[in-house]
């Protein structure tokens, strides 16, 4: 017996000829979205840094708020989507939502870290210190740690469905934990100090200032959407590649079994 029964051999993913068609995670939709974002960024920057007046109390450092608030909104939306996605994974066993939760958690992590840095850059000229044990700052720092924990769970090497279920259980708790931490920290601080510090956050808002702020928030959400789509596609491809490697491993193993059998036959 000389003919080795060959198992169905799909082309190995690494050895495959360079994929045809356009390369990357972009598409028509994302290019339009990206264009909208770029125009939005230009206008928002002009409104925030040039056309709007300095604040009576804060001076020019009010211009930090125009970027701070939109970034915070993105971070919160990211957490919300992560928790929503985790619920859908547990409920419907959805791969789509698993990838969405992962992509949005990573963006939320980046924007939460940015929130802290921007917040400190604002606190220093306003309050004279980089950090105060204010409820918002403290609970934002805890939010960053919760997100890091979630992403650490995602990075544990495991079979796809195992990983998605495990991450989903941690992810479902993300938003409730953020809320409980935030409430307890607020309650804790409010017992100790009055809210004079917080009052500086609510200045009398000039019309142009309000417009700069309210314009920047949707722009940030467009940027978030653009990032989310690209990150989603990247995560999706990573998952597809893992699945392909698995199919390859299964057919390798079958071929190996067939080969060994053929050797036995020759003996």
């Amino acid at each position: 017996m000389t003919s080795v029964p060959t198992a169905t051999a799909p082309s190995a993913p690494d050895a495959a000829p360079p994929a045809v068609g356009p390369i990357g995670t972009g598409s028509r939709g994302t290019r339009i979205l990206g264009l909208v974002a770029l125009v939005g960024i230009a206008v928002a920057t002009y409104l925030a840094l040039v056309s709007s007046p300095p604040d009576e109390n804060m001076g020019d450092s009010v211009r930090i708020i125009y970027i701070h608030v939109p970034i915070v909104v993105v971070a919160y939306v990211g957490c919300l989507i992560t928790t929503l996605g985790s619920v859908m994974v547990l409920w419907k066993k959805s791969v789509w939502w698993d990838v969405t939760a992962a992509a949005s958690a990573e963006i939320a992590m980046v924007t939460t870290a940015l929130t802290l840095v921007i917040g400190m850059a604002w606190a220093r000229p306003t309050w004279g210190v980089w950090w105060v044990w204010d409820a918002r700052l403290t609970s934002t720092a805890m939010l960053l740690l919760l997100l890091l924990g979630y992403l650490a769970v995602r990075r544990i090497p495991a079979e796809t469905s195992t990983r998605s279920r495990r991450a989903a259980i941690v992810g479902v708790l993300l938003l409730p934990n953020v809320i409980v931490v935030n409430r307890s920290v607020t309650w804790w601080r409010s017992l100790h100090q009055d809210t004079t510090i917080l009052n500086t956050l609510q200045p009398k808002i000039h019309d142009q200032m309000a417009f700069a702020l309210y314009f920047a928030i949707p722009v940030a959400l467009v940027i978030f959407a653009w990032l989310l789509v690209h990150r989603w596609r990247l995560a999706w491809m990573e998952q597809q590649l893992e699945d392909r490697e698995l199919d390859q491993a299964i057919s390798d193993r079958r071929a190996e079994a067939a080969g060994e059998r053929a050797e036995d036959g020759q003996r």
Binding site: P13, D14, A16, P18, A19, V20, G21, P22, I23, G24, T25, G26, S27, G29, T45, L49, P54, M58, G59, D60, S61, R63, I64, I67, H68, I71, I107, V110, A113, L114, V117, I118, A121, W122, R124, P125, I223, L227, H230, R231, R233, L234, M237, E238, Q240, L241, R244
Partner: protein
């Protein structure tokens, strides 16, 4: 450092981090898409 310095710091850090992150995602996406056939990238 006057107020503008802190404004520049906040805006600068945000710009650098977001651009770096976006670049990372795009470049990794390009590298990854070379290893997959188009049927796995249906958004093309």
């Amino acid at each position: 450092m006057n107020d503008w310095g802190y404004v520049a710091l906040a805006w600068g850090v945000t710009a650098v981090v977001l651009v770096a992150y976006a670049l990372w995602v795009i470049l990794r996406g390009r590298a990854m898409s070379r290893r997959l056939p188009p049927e796995d990238r249906r958004w093309m």
